[in-house]
Symmetry: D2
Subunit: 347 residues, 4 copies
């Protein structure tokens, strides 16, 4: 299968290359970049030295894309929406990692992304890429939009409750996110001296992933409810933990049952709840580098609430790994082909 990447200089681009370089069915054809055209890929991603010997291709030669079977777009929000229509002209399958094609209603883009979405008809053609929920749709899709990292974590953890109509009131999601989630962002507050040891909410309300979470959970649930998402940065580079407060109560065996029913056969979902054991509740440390999502839960008997915890690697299941899982499904491969990468531990 011939694969190209548009916008391959960032972290999600590097992560796609890391995984695709050992995918048994993939040939990497072109890695396009505006700013790095002509440079060796390993000059921008030195960790790939000795692994990928290609150079970046200029976007001036975008027409070379026509021989690819699938294109991953790793462009930033706002840039992707301009590029995707051009790629569509070459009649290839597209997997977009930006936020530009995640929401169903064009009107939401004005509010949350501060731009007018000029291609609502394209929007309708994109399938939202959560394989564990929308496998069927993805398998038939020509265009897939990969969820935001906090969104996929939250939606998967809440899925059994949404599906059964058990979410009624506001869901609180407290997300703790590694710095790689915000890309190669050059500003004083991003430098090591400023960010090391820093624990803070960078977006304590009105986060862009919340309409995404609401849209798909309401779709699954067929109910209306709100999501309040507060995103925090926490002294790590890679990984997410989201703690979710649910205004609903069930006994533990029932919750176990839901997750087993819904995810028991999913290769990339692990249910983690072992308060007396070594790995008690989800922690990204135990899955870094892999495509796993670890979901756990606890009940508060006094308050009669449920606390969900969900961890994933924001660059793998939260972006590039999940994108490749979608690709596998779109092309009829085994869903886990090239993705059976064990986590690296300890690190």
């Amino acid at each position: 299968m011939k694969v190209s990447i548009v916008g391959g200089s960032g972290y999600t681009g590097g992560e796609l290359l890391r995984i695709l370089s050992i995918h048994p069915r993939v040939e990497i054809q072109h890695v396009f970049s505006r700013s790095n055209a002509g440079k060796y890929i390993h000059d921008v991603h030195p960790f790939l030295k000795g692994i990928i010997k290609m150079k970046f291709t200029s976007l001036d030669n975008l027409n070379l894309i026509k021989n690819s079977d699938v294109v991953f777009s790793c462009l930033p929000h706002g840039v992707s929406k301009e590029m995707i229509p051009k790629i569509i002209d070459y009649n290839v399958k597209i997997i977009d990692l930006s936020g530009d094609f995640r929401l169903k209603e064009a009107s939401l883009y004005k509010r949350w992304y501060h731009f007018e979405h000029k291609n609502p008809e394209i929007l309708a053609k994109f399938v939202y890429g959560i394989p564990e929920i929308f496998k069927e749709e993805i398998s038939k899709a020509k265009y897939v939009s990969v969820p935001g990292c906090i969104a996929i974590a939250s939606i998967l953890a809440l899925y059994p409750f949404a599906k059964r109509g058990l979410i009624k009131n506001t869901v609180y999601i407290d997300a703790k996110v590694g710095s790689s989630g915000s890309g190669k962002n050059l500003k004083i507050s991003s430098i090591f001296s400023e960010r090391f040891n820093s624990i803070k909410a960078y977006k304590p309300a009105m986060h862009r992933h919340s309409p995404e979470i609401e849209t798909y959970l309401q779709l699954i649930s067929n109910k209306k409810f709100n999501v309040l998402l507060a995103a925090h940065t926490v002294n790590i580079v890679r990984g997410i933990l989201a703690t979710i407060y649910l205004d609903h109560y069930e006994e533990l065996p029932q919750i176990w049952k839901y997750y087993r029913e819904d995810f028991g056969n999913e290769k990339f979902i692990r249910i983690i709840r072992n308060p007396r054991g070594y790995y008690k509740y989800p922690d990204p440390k135990f899955l870094l580098g892999s495509n796993f999502v670890d979901i756990g839960f606890e009940i508060d008997e006094i308050n009669r609430k449920i606390v969900l915890m969900v961890a994933l690697d924001n660059l793998v299941k939260g972006a590039s790994g999940n994108a490749i899982q979608c690709m596998n499904i779109m092309f009829g491969l085994n869903e886990d082909e090239g993705l059976n990468i064990p986590p690296i531990y300890p690190i």
Copy 2:
């Protein structure tokens, strides 16, 4: 003023010594320790080498305490409740940093600390040490119980809302805590290789600080409501950030007004809300080593909720610094005497 410490080998003991060593009105008299009696203090706390030249005193000589004006007890939960009655016999003022005298109802100890509190009458003599709220009571107290680090953070942030009766439903507190909060705890899951990069809930529900928070907020509020506290560990040693989700809504100017009214004259409380500035919302990084509590807030207009954020140094305002602030008040000194230590930044 003559000061002694019982149980001075741990982190809160070390922190008391750090601050007291430069307190202009304090003479450190005895530092008692069972396991380290006879050793130099700087053998256990090497950072104090060149600063404190004393040795630890054996608990066998507890009677030496009678010449002290005040005793800080830094013993662990469960041990303190056995020792405090003995210290009381020497007729000194006591400031206890454990959880053993924080709750008002003896019955709560069985549920939350798994022991029978045999001295309910002593319990009644202890004042809960939040100077910004109970200054009057502390100034008259002979015995003060210092709040838990998450508890003091949460109660201070919620105080304006509790006081005005605005808390009606369950309050969700998502606490992110540095490892020093759990002391010198020797187990495999505490070693650096296991804990570095780890982001996890270590107590996602039913945390011991929640009855403390409920007790005093209800007292302030004169209303009943519940608190759900989830405590997380987040790749730092020192510092706490708590994010609090409040099922209540007000416009920003009103919230500013509450905090200014209630805390405008408090030396150790800083209100931090500057979404376009450099220091946007509370972050322990900006106050490490100091007695500051930084409180901030954001509103979610869609969900009509308030998100509070509160940061402090768990060993200073969350323990030893706050204990010394209480001491100053108990002895009629300026509240900030010896505590005007600027934060250390960056670190």
Copy 3:
């Protein structure tokens, strides 16, 4: 190929399992453990949940080993030397990761490991496992001893100079090592609160890896000289950087030539020297999780000395990855089979 592991509970055991689980030619047969016999492997190595479903086998059933083609021993120093003779009885190939069979002279063990080596005749049968230097010997070996992590880094970096007889005076090696190099070590100074932010020499002289380095470099060089190794811990879990000070001088093109000649065809050695580029000199960050060794150099024109820098992942090329590379060679497979794992970046 049937593979068993003895002593699989530690970090090098976990790392062997991580890599072997995706090695296309390997079937993991037994993972022996004294303390964890009967437990699921993923109870001890939770990151392997969903990947390895086996249980630990008791050492009482060591005879099961007879059906394996090769056994990896991950036992601690001192324990391995007792177990290896027993494994030898089962007539399998052995790859030992401890220090017990690294040195050629039994007498050295008394000085450096504080025990009497009772099996000098077994010592002679072990080949020292640096594939890039002793490939031929490894391919014929029945027993291989895997080098220490600092030793393999230092020997590889110094190899071109040793081989050409250019090392004459004491070589200074300043090693900066991640905490995983010392295993799951339970003591107060290992806990997160104590070790985070700590930068210190833990063995500033007389390190056990120095006789290993001397022995093999002198063998290669046929000259006598000493090695002074100072080992430091530096606020990371995984990875090593060694800076080596060489009392010798050559111009840059000559040094490039040496490394290209000696390692130009080695798949796992990358030469890194690009002072104006992005990846200037070796840094373990760019190779974590992979079997790469990154070697770089700089000259000091004033002092007329050479500074070498060498980085590797202590658990991969510094232990388990290198052990698997040796296995591949011992069994006539491609040296890199199962080892073409790209580094994970950023992390």
Copy 4:
């Protein structure tokens, strides 16, 4: 005493303010800044909120400096040499923290700093500010140049050997430095995602601090020898550890004697050597925030060499704290006035 600061926006400026704000004899008069004139100091240094209420003064009003007793210059290298002559006109004492007045020979600036020093006569008026060695000269000085952080660490550790003429061959200095040493440096390789977990030599030879070290050690020693300094970055923000390899040998008691003789009465130097204890060798972790220098040593009996280790806080004894110590001496105060700040531990 009236104090002003020129260039107060960076980390050394912030650190001066932290310490001066609690110095009992100091009144902070003006903090000049080009880029931040008119802003509140706490907008640039938010950790000082609640402590310093002043605004930055524009450099256009530099003449206000005339009422100050002493001026600290925290300008970058190259900028300071242009500003200092202007400040000299106002007839105030000057303490410069840049490298522009550290070297004695103007010619060295061309080689090491790539600029022509136009004021060699000013150069001659500056005293090199190591109080423990040049106390007499500092007490009489009008102008003091504060050493580089690696330089002061290295010179102090080597002083007893230099003074006794025991340094004959090249001294190797392997410095491990926190990120704050390079200031608020905005480039991609400085961002958290890139620098976290990174361990690398950023200047493995020909470092600017080496001529400084050579100049003053040769002055002390009256011998010629070279210094090879390799500077590394190691996953921390604050603190330095330098490991120094000395081609000289003495027994331990003799080394102890040297240090006791030379530094036994120095308040800010602690000799740390306790291989069986808790704090074995110097580690910046045990002195962060304080003005201490911790010096330790080990001997290698086989190689007959000495390994020195020296740790300090690069922003305190490596910059601003040491500058204030010089100020105290210049004004006849107790050397430690305002500097008896205990380290913060753990952090």
